[in-house]
């Protein structure tokens, strides 16, 4: 198992290095290349010599690999670069925004699991019942609604139609606004949750259906296990595997969804910053946030992989065997 963990860790580092190289190359594709920040800092009247001098000051004139090396070293020191548009370090922007997005995404994720996992199980248990068809139908429609449209429709119905929930998330910058003003979070979290439920409940239904036809489930029934024990002990635990893997993979999508939700509900967070950064050509900021999400994803996949070994002893043995 230890050998497996070490191999997985090395894999993760390699993947992260590739993400870094990729995102490091992106600024070269700007219209003015990597010198673009110089133009926005020095203004339109800067001469070519000014631009080059400014670039030399920040090491832009070094070869690609020297810059890449310096960049990686800087990253290891927690230096994500400098946002020239906002005039502060990317690290400080990320640090103030991370808690808000993580609160939003995590609460939506937890709620999604609490709803989608039982829903998928019940659907699989009562396959081809009215309940199953209704669940599948709703999931199908939700899956086809773009997140911005879903947010808009929820606002129309629950903010301006009935209930009169707040149509804006709290703009208070403190991350604990979630607790001081929970009502304002209902709609943003509901949007993300509904989108998540659409995908995960269907996936859970499929996973349970796959497990239900396995020999060991039949054996369990044959040896006289109670229906409850077959469901929880044999079916549920085995169906959990694919869901855990899916959760690790779903992290980038979760942040993507957060981007839209933050934009619609005027909630300042990572997605909001990334979107505005992209609009303003503030690449260091966008890349910094992208890298952070990539780190989250890689860690999430790693955690999912290790958790898989915990819920499924067979995988543990398989891994230590080789």
């Amino acid at each position: 198992m230890l050998a497996y963990i070490i191999r997985r860790l090395i894999q993760s580092i390699v993947v992260l290095l590739m993400v870094i190289v990729f995102s490091f190359s992106l600024p070269y594709f700007q219209p003015e290349g990597i010198y673009t920040p110089a133009y926005s800092v020095l203004g339109t009247h800067a001469t070519h010599a000014n631009i080059l001098a400014w670039g030399a000051q920040y090491g832009l004139n070094h070869p690609f690999f020297v810059r890449l090396w310096n960049y990686i070293i800087a990253l290891l020191h927690g230096n994500f670069g400098f946002s020239y548009k906002q005039g502060q370090s990317v690290y400080s922007i990320i640090a103030t925004n991370v808690p808000r997005t993580v609160w939003l995404a995590l609460s939506a994720l937890l709620l999604t699991l609490v709803i989608a996992v039982p829903l998928g199980m019940i659907q699989a248990q009562r396959r081809n019942s009215v309940f199953d068809y209704a669940g599948t139908g709703v999931a199908f429609v939700l899956y086809a609604v773009p997140s911005f449209l879903l947010a808009f429709l929820l606002i129309q119905v629950f903010a301006f139609g009935i209930l009169h929930l707040p149509s804006q998330a709290p703009t208070a910058l403190a991350p604990w606004a979630m607790f001081t003003n929970p009502v304002a979070f209902i709609l943003p979290v509901a949007t993300l949750t509904l989108l998540g439920v659409a995908g995960i409940s269907r996936f859970m239904r499929g996973a349970v259906l796959d497990v239900m036809v396995q020999d060991y489930v039949r054996t369990a029934k044959a040896k006289g296990c109670s229906a409850r024990r077959v469901l929880w002990r044999h079916t549920f635990r085995n169906a959990l595997g694919p869901i855990i893997t899916l959760l690790g993979l779903a992290i980038p999508g979760l942040f993507g969804g957060a981007l839209i939700v933050e934009d619609v509900f005027n909630y300042p967070g990572l997605g909001y910053q990334a979107y505005n950064g992209a609009l303003n050509g503030d690449l260091p900021l966008v890349i910094g946030i992208t890298l952070l999400v990539a780190v989250f994803t890689v860690l999430g996949n790693l955690a999912a992989d290790l958790a898989l070994g915990i819920v499924n002893p067979r995988i543990r043995i398989e891994r230590s065997g080789k």
Partner: protein, 302 residues
């Protein structure tokens, strides 16, 4: 009704040709009423988008001319679905934007499936070090939040139809490649591929004669979902103000413009299009699901 007919019956059953595979599959597909409804709906919307402007031409490109129309006017006998904030006829604009949304989504989906299939096939078939490297690259791509990358790329380049197709298409194939790779690995290890290998068939021969034809069902299914995804992502770009530039438009951009005006009660600028749009994506996804069922070997008559 006697012996003769009995014998002919017996003969008929013994020499009866096996029903070709594609026909059985078509039968399973056509037995699915909802799938047929989805196909019909998609056909209807596509025909509407491409033909309606010819039957009922409206100005959709000249903003100066459109300004002579009443702005944000409700549906009446002249403008069946009213006009939008620029004075464009909304019904005509749904068709005009749909031409872009459907075409771009379709083409981006095709790019996705072509690149994803090539990548997945090569990686899964060659295996070994090549596969490991290709898969780690894929892992790296998959850990980048797709939407972030998409908006970054779209802001870096000009937002023309071609570039949007390429941007969405060339960044959407990562999941596809994974599925196809798993398929290729599976088929590579099946008896007929191994038999071909022992008989000295080249790798390329095995890929295009055995692996590719046998994973075509998965490719077609995934392609359907890719098109739906591409249409969704295109609309998201439109919502973020990063869709096609005026006077061109797409459904996402139209939904965004309409949603902004909803507080004024201009329902005709959002809800009809929203319904059409959602149903289009539902229909495509449903067709994908039905195709997957039709390709499922277990369901074939044996």
């Amino acid at each position: 009704m006697t012996a003769t007919s009995l014998t002919t019956d017996a003969v008929a059953t013994t020499v009866e040709m096996p029903v070709p595979m594609w026909r059985q599959r078509l039968k399973i597909f056509t037995q699915n009423k909802l799938a047929i409804a989805s196909v019909l709906y998609l056909l209807l919307i596509t025909l509407f988008c491409f033909l309606w402007p010819h039957f009922h031409p409206t100005n959709q490109t000249n903003q100066n001319l459109a300004i002579n129309n009443p702005i944000n006017q409700g549906p009446d006998s002249q403008f069946w679905l009213g006009t939008d904030s620029s004075g464009f006829d909304v019904l005509g604009r749904i068709a005009y934007g749909g031409e872009y949304s459907l075409t771009l989504g379709f083409l981006a989906g095709i790019v996705t499936i072509v690149v994803g299939t090539l990548y997945g096939m090569i990686s899964g078939f060659l295996g070994g070090v090549v596969d490991t490297v290709m898969m780690r690259v894929l892992d790296a791509f998959l850990s980048i939040p797709y939407l972030f990358l998409l908006i970054t790329l779209v802001t870096l380049f000009a937002r023309t139809a071609t570039l949007l197709i390429l941007t969405i298409g060339l960044t959407g194939w990562w999941g596809t490649a994974r599925i196809i790779r798993a398929d290729a690995m599976l088929i590579r290890n099946l008896e007929y591929s191994q038999a071909a290998t022992t008989m000295g068939a080249s790798k390329w021969h095995i890929i295009h004669r055995h692996v590719f034809p046998n994973s075509i069902s998965n490719i077609v299914t995934v392609a359907t979902f890719s098109v739906a995804d591409a249409i969704l992502f295109l609309s998201t770009l439109g919502f973020l103000g990063l869709g096609l530039q005026a006077p061109q438009t797409d459904w996402g951009t139209m939904l965004q413009n309409g949603a902004e005006l909803i507080p004024n009660g201009y329902w005709w600028e959002v809800y009809p299009l929203a319904a059409i749009f959602i149903l289009v994506v539902v229909a495509i996804n449903y067709i994908g699901d039905a195709l997957r069922d039709a390709f499922e070997v277990r369901l074939l008559e044996r």
